[in-house]
Amino acid sequence: MFDSVIAASIYLGSFENILYLCLGVTVGLVFGTIPGLGGATAIALLLPLTFGMEAEQAMILMGGIMGAVAIGGSISAILLNTPGTAPNAATCFDGYPLTQQGKAGIAIGAAATASALGGIIGLGILVMVIPVAKSIVLLFGPPAFFMMAVLGLTSLVAASDNLLRGLIAACVGLFVAFIGYDEIGGELRYTAGIDYLWDGISLVPILIGLFAIAEMAKLFVKGGTIAQTPTDGDLTRITGTLDGVKAVFKNPKTLLAGSTIGSLVGMVPGVGGTVASFMSYSFTAQFSKNNENFGKGDIRGVIAPEASNNAKDGGSLIPTLAFGIPGSAEMALFLGVLVLHGMTPGPMLLIEREYSIFVLILALLLSTIFGAIIMLSASRYLVKITYIDSSILIPTVISIAMVGAYALHGSIGDVFAAGFFGLLGYLMIRFDYPRITFVIALVLGSLMERSFTQSLLMFQGDWTRFMTEGTSRILFILTVIALLVPILHKLRKYWRAS
């Protein structure tokens, strides 16, 4: 194993290969920043370029993209409340409030640092678990998937400020997730005869509407700029990027928790980075000390999801490489690249092609670091976006958002969906319903439903076996704990007060 690492680093060190890596990082950052484009589009675009390459070079290029995309995506999440890619959605909840308080520099600094360190930790965990990778993947059958979705939903709803509103938003999210063709029952649901709805509404246009468009609507009503103008009027000085970098090192627990959850959830096949970053956000929000400030601009709310969505790359390589079951569109495309270069994913790939895998791991590692450095050095210029007057900013952001929504599948239906969810998002802000429980329910809904039906077929209808067997039993216990913790918190506060 050690030989492979050294051989891989030497290979990666050649001028040509570093150039490919930089190309990947640049494309990844740009595509990550623009909502709707994302890693899948970038990989699809550069895929023909890899035809003439060696398999390892193709992996360097793709590794460059995958490592940088989530970093680029955090910029738009923090500055414009518009997740550049779906896994960045959780970063909005605290990143954007920080921007509004004029602390965008801190948020960007923390996001870049957390991403880089999260990426490194995630790859470290990957290297450690490769020998037992197979058994981890095999632990998760349909019952465990179902329980994991229940755990994710429960911990988030239980942690929301207003339980009733959190529940309502989650129910609406689940409802939206059920729109479309039910593969198991073989029926169309809630499609109202519209062809576009057959496959359900895809996540990205919903996120664009819910965050970007809703935010611009809010800004339009409020007027002015996103961030409050600093009192001394000096825009260049208040970036605070360095403070953000320091904040990550001051919160090692958050960083570690975010990275670990990210890479573990990433390993679960078919789940993907969006779930990973939401899970680590909700975990951090629920189990951190002094957590009153979450959702209002707590820096830990940026660190956890950003660490997680870079750490998940390492984890999600396991189901992709070992079983050919990708957790996201991006990974699915990457799988295509692998196959095209004669690396058919399978239980033996991790062992047979150890050298190639390490080239990929190192490329991912360097990519997150390069991406973070580029972002840190650019942050002082990027922050100025938040001081642009709304009369210029709103039309620009809305155009980019709409183009992004269209570009994803080239479907005009997605643009309408983004518009509709923009309106819904604005109403949710206006009447104080949490968007986070809505989004997580939406993300988990179809996984939850499918695995529930499959489990019942497996259990022959005996649902008590969710609580008595295998991995799902452990997740069930965690769910009960997630329900009890907020209650205990409140009780403790109540006792202390009296």
Binding site: P142, I184, G186, F323, F334, P347, Q454, L457
Partner: protein
């Protein structure tokens, strides 16, 4: 019906008038619609094939793969069906996948029999698989199981249909087998089989060979005419009616293509699938290139309809609400 043939006739006459332009075909890029998202087998087939297909038309021609996923492939197929038959829009078709809705009496916006078939690119046979840890070694062992649970992708997919046909032909239906459907891909279902979610699955040979090599799964029979390694065919094991179970990937254009244009595309296709460079690339990507020319592809489609229609009563959704 009369109206339909009238429109076809009108189409043909309009085409006849415009056919002078076809000598210069192609004057712009040709797109091949992939009715699935990027990354899958169909996507891969087109992306590997496109550059070599383009080469047949000269240096400057570009053949563009266009992903149009949706409605289990029906959206992309319907898009092709409605496109102008000018040769600039082609698509890769899943056979029998896209014929299934019709066989299951569902309404679709296309008619595969009317399309302009350019050629079959790939063809795959199916393995009948069990976990290597199980005590099932032969078809008889499977038939003697008390409980049979198939794992498969969702209703309307080719793999589920293949599983149902296998169950019907092997006489497993008296055991009222359970079908756990809805796995996102065949690979997901196969991992489920390794994990023990169920005890049997059907899968195209190429998707499952890696699990057999790794010793996780065991194939107990294969469709088609040739035994694979030591796995015997259904015919050799006494079930010749399962020989025809297969999955084809073929290239087609919209209905009503002018004969000269179709001939030109077919010629290019036939040449491209013989290109040693393409074959080398295809081998690297582990594609199962088994070309048929346009006319043969059309005939194989008719055969496919006949084969699946005889099982149409067995193909209803096992988990309908």
């Amino acid at each position: 019906m009369v109206l339909k043939s009238l429109t076809t006739l009108m189409f043909a006459s309009v085409l006849g008038l415009t056919s002078y332009a076809q000598a210069d075909f192609p004057e712009k890029e040709v797109s091949i619609v992939i009715p699935y998202g990027p990354g899958g087998g169909f996507d891969l087939a087109v992306r590997s094939f496109a550059p070599f297909f383009a080469k047949q038309f000269g240096e400057d021609t570009v053949v563009l793969p266009v992903n149009k996923p949706g409605a289990g492939g029906r959206l992309g197929t319907a898009t092709l069906y409605r496109a102008k038959p000018d040769g600039y829009t082609l698509a890769i078709i899943n056979l029998p996948g896209f014929a299934l809705p019709e066989i299951l009496n569902e309404k679709v916006d296309y008619d595969l029999r009317k399309m302009s078939w350019i050629g079959r690119l790939e063809s795959q046979n199916y393995f009948l698989l069990v976990s290597a840890k199980s005590d099932i070694y032969t078809l008889e062992d499977l038939q003697n199981q008390d409980k049979i649970t198939f794992l498969s992708t969702g209703y309307g997919s080719t793999v589920l249909a293949a599983a149902q046909i296998a169950a019907a032909s092997l006489g497993l239906n008296e055991k009222s087998p359970v079908y756990i459907t809805g796995y996102e891909s065949t690979s997901n279902a196969l991992v489920g089989l390794v994990r023990g979610d169920g005890n049997v699955a059907v899968s195209p040979v190429s998707s499952s060979s890696k699990y057999i090599e790794s010793g996780d799964l065991r194939a107990i029979a294969v469709s088609g005419d040739e035994a694979v390694d030591d796995v015997q065919t259904f015919a050799q094991l006494g079930y010749p009616n399962l020989t025809q179970l297969n999955l084809d990937r073929a290239i087609a254009g919209p209905p009503g293509m002018a004969p000269e244009l179709l001939a030109k595309l077919r010629k290019a296709f036939d040449a491209a699938v013989q290109d040693p460079e393409f074959l080398a690339q295809a081998k690297k990507a582990r594609m199962d290139v088994l070309p048929l020319n346009g006319e043969q592809a059309q005939e194989s489609l008719e055969d496919s309809y006949r084969f699946y229609e005889q099982f149409s009563t067995s193909l209803s959704n096992p988990n309908a609400n």
